[in-house]
């Protein structure tokens, strides 16, 4: 039977502490991996910005195709993140769910602003709405990744 705890109480204590330290060090490595794809949050922000900009497209443009492409790209973005990091965090915590909800609402808000700007004959101002949406979505994505890192760090 394997037992890598030495005999003697103080040796057992230090052996146990070393093992626990190894586990912490491994978790730190996973957190580094989650940090590696620096492109994730800005790409997510860019998708939001593209969506917010769609009211500026000409009437003849196939907006449905653009919106479908954005959704598909969003899904591929998440899959790509999992593939690059080799880590799947499939369950959302409450905080991550709230951040995701806020991201959706914020994007829809700026989209409605863009619609209003387009209807008011101010299509160039849609750029400002898209930039604001990009910054908000990128910031929320960064918070989401940070929350996932904390989840890995806080394991028993």
């Amino acid at each position: 039977m394997e037992n890598n705890l030495s005999s003697g109480r103080s040796n057992q204590q230090s052996d146990a502490a070393v093992l626990l330290g190894d586990l912490e060090s491994d978790r730190a490595g996973l957190i580094e991996r989650l940090n590696e794809p620096k492109w994730f949050a800005p790409t997510y922000g860019a998708l939001a910005a593209i969506f917010i900009s769609t009211p500026a497209l000409p009437e003849t443009f196939n907006r449905g195709f653009v919106l479908t492409s954005i959704v598909v790209t969003g899904v591929l973005l998440v899959l790509g993140y999992q593939w690059v990091t080799g880590i799947k965090l499939l369950r959302f915590r409450v905080l991550e769910g709230v951040l995701f909800g806020i991201a959706i609402l914020t994007t829809l808000f700026f989209f409605s602003v863009s619609l209003g700007l387009a209807a008011s004959g101010l299509p160039l101002w849609i750029v400002a709405s898209a930039i604001a949406g990009f910054l908000a979505a990128t910031g929320l994505a960064l918070l989401g990744v940070s929350s996932m890192r904390e989840r890995v760090r806080d394991v028993a």
Binding site: M1, E2, N3, N4, L5, R9, Q12, Q13, A16, A17, L19, L20, D22, L23, D26, R27, G29, L30, R33, W83, T85, G86, I87, K88, L89, L90, R91, V152, V155, A156
Partner: protein, 105 residues
Amino acid sequence: MSPEGAFNELVHEPIRLRICGLLRAVDELDFAVLRDTLGISDAALSKHLKVLATAGFVTSKKIASEARADARRLTWLRLTDVGGDVFDDHIRALRKIAAGTDAFA
């Protein structure tokens, strides 16, 4: 689950302990990431995973990856609910030992 902790010899082997520790932190982990983090060979890792899988602590899911030129599969590993409970109990026991508050002589 035992609030006092429960030492488990199978999980206590250092590599298997680290495997469980890594899988406990995430929902699924790629085999290659596990191998690279532990710094062991594919064969050695597979041997330990087989022991854990036989005990019902770990499951795996193989997915064909078109990104690989040799059509090798990606393998996603997951700690089962039983494996998670056993690992948590073992960690509680280890913490008690480390703190010197255990019943071990």
